[in-house]
């Protein structure tokens, strides 16, 4: 029987960049890169649903999350302080395929960088990370020790390439690509890589149960509707059907 919705005690919860928080909890947590937890930082009924957040790192006795304050749920979580408790359900989802080796590119847009530290630490190939941001780069300092190169792009050019990260990425240099970020970015990555290199994408969707029971988080794939929380969040790029 899996562990149930459990409490975690906050070890730290700090803003590392405007609106971007690093949350560390104490406890014996499990999970592989690409998996996520459903977080709930409140005892009341509004907000109603828990929030899915990827594992950013697990070390002995500690789990780390990296999140962006978007709406009410993440806002409430951002107000929690050391010593406060938080409910968590997880680890959930499939996670990245960790068998892969060779020259691997991790491509991220914005907060899509969240699962990449843990992934980079656990992967055994030669890893290069390409991270795009709007204005400020973050979290890369922690990732740097585990990757061969770090490439950055910002929309305003304040750091790295001015423009989109996909503009400085060449799929021919790699044997495998992992992408996590906004849907438009992932679509560009998929288009660029098509027929050249296989891509795995981490997908998002609104979730209720998080464990595969409510069918609320499905996306269209070539096999039919599949659950982001169960068959995903990591999908083979060519299997996802994007409609906009």
């Amino acid at each position: 029987m899996k562990e149930n919705y459990r409490k975690g005690i906050i070890y730290k919860n700090t803003e590392i960049s405007p609106n971007i928080y690093e949350l560390v909890l104490e406890g014996d947590f499990h999970g592989i890169p690409g998996q996520f937890y459903m977080l709930r930082g409140w005892d009341w009924l509004d907000p109603f649903l828990s929030r899915p957040i990827s594992i950013a790192d697990i070390e002995s006795g500690k789990i780390k999350f990296l999140y962006e304050v978007k709406g009410r749920g993440t806002h409430i979580i951002s107000k929690l302080k050391k010593g406060d408790t938080l409910s968590l359900l997880g680890p959930l989802g499939n996670g990245f395929d960790m068998q892969m080796e060779g020259r691997i590119a991790l491509i991220t847009g914005g907060i899509g960088i969240a699962p990449m530290l843990y992934l980079a630490k656990k992967l055994s190939g030669e890893i290069h990370i390409y991270s795009g941001f709007r204005n400020n780069a973050y979290f890369l300092d922690q990732i740097r020790p585990y990757v061969k190169t770090v490439k950055i792009a910002t929309e305003n050019g304040s750091i790295g390439h001015k423009g989109f990260i996909t503009e400085i990425f060449d799929p021919k240099d790699f044997e495998l690509v992992y992408a996590c970020g906004p849907t438009p970015m992932m679509e560009v990555v998929l288009k660029m890589c098509k027929g050249i290199v296989p891509v795995f994408v981490s997908m998002e969707n609104h979730m209720a149960c998080g464990i595969g029971a409510c069918l609320g988080c499905t996306i269209e794939t070539i096999r039919g509707m599949e659950r982001v929380c169960k068959e995903g969040p990591v999908f083979k790029g060519e299997e996802v059907v994007f409609n906009d």
Partner: protein, 298 residues
């Protein structure tokens, strides 16, 4: 102590997992032994497999959520082959929740279920999320009556009819269904509701409206159960925003024999265990030996 009886069948306790929020039990069984529940109502089944709706399916609202799953399900045959074996080995009462878009679909579904080990058919005449997915049947008494009458004729299983809160008159609807042969009633399903994306200037959901559930609807659902319990004499299963033992006891005091927990499962997967425990403690504290003592007490 918490035992209740529905149509001759005993449930360990009055807490049943609500259709569509609990799959076929397997996912939740990884978190707690679902045999501790009184029963489980399956994801809504239709005669044939359905893929469900596209676009956003879940949208959070104050103290609740809207959903538009669109009855994604493996079809009755798929259920019998793939999902029922897991459930029938469990010591738990099984309600097969059955939807349909035509009368024939309902009847064929019932015939397939007749020869299985399920305990009840929960006839969903009220799903708001599929065009003709039963919603049309759940609004007007006369159409509901027709479906229930025919369903009752073919069903070898006790027939629990699940009512829509969108029914024009919930008391008349309940009365009509019982008149037509319903052995029991469960209520409520989700409320027809709307949300709009003000930047896209479009409804959030592709089907425009979707079904509202969760604690937000509880006070209305409770009123409906109360009203229905005044006009029918069959067992009632109360549903709508139940998230703690107090809610459950309120529904029982309003006349319900058992209750279902739906959206509450999303707060905490084993929330039903907390509810069962809370009911037990309340009964001890209040010296209640059987829930019969307080059923319909108001």
């Amino acid at each position: 102590m918490t035992r209740v009886e529905i149509l001759g069948l005993e449930l360990k306790n009055p807490v049943i997992a609500a259709s569509g929020t609990f799959g076929f039990g397997r996912e939740f069984d990884e978190y707690f032994s679902i045999e501790k529940l009184g029963g489980i109502s399956t994801k809504g089944l239709t005669l044939n497999k359905r893929d469900g709706n596209k676009g956003i399916r879940i949208y959070e609202t104050p103290s609740g959520l809207m959903n538009s799953i669109g009855l994604q399900n493996p079809g009755v045959k798929g259920f019998i082959e793939e999902d029922l074996p897991f459930l029938e080995n469990m010591d738990i009462v099984i309600l097969a929740n059955l939807g349909g878009s035509t009368l024939d679909e309902y009847l064929e579904g019932i015939e397939l279920l007749n020869n299985t080990s399920i305990d009840f058919i929960e006839l969903n005449i009220s799903c708001p999320n599929v065009k003709e997915g039963g919603m049309a049947f759940g609004i007007k008494c006369n159409t509901a009556e027709r479906v229930v009458k025919e369903a009752k004729k073919v069903s070898k299983k006790p027939l629990i009819v699940k009512l829509s809160p969108n029914a024009e008159n919930i008391q008349e609807m309940a009365y009509s269904c019982v008149n037509a042969g319903a052995d029991g009633l469960s209520l409520v399903n989700t409320f027809n509701a709307l949300a709009i994306d003000v930047y896209k200037r479009k409804p959030i959901f592709e089907n425009i409206t979707a079904g509202l559930s969760g604690p937000c609807i509880k006070p209305i659902a409770l009123r409906m159960v109360y009203e229905v319990s005044k006009v029918v004499n069959v067992p009632i299963i109360g549903i709508g925003g139940i998230i703690n033992w107090r809610d459950a006891i309120e529904f029982i005091m309003a006349g319900a024999t058992a209750i279902q927990v739906g959206s509450g499962n999303f707060i905490k997967p084993d929330i039903s265990l907390d509810i069962i425990k809370g009911i037990e403690e309340y009964m001890k504290e209040e010296g209640i030996k059987s829930l019969e003592e307080i059923r319909g007490i108001i």
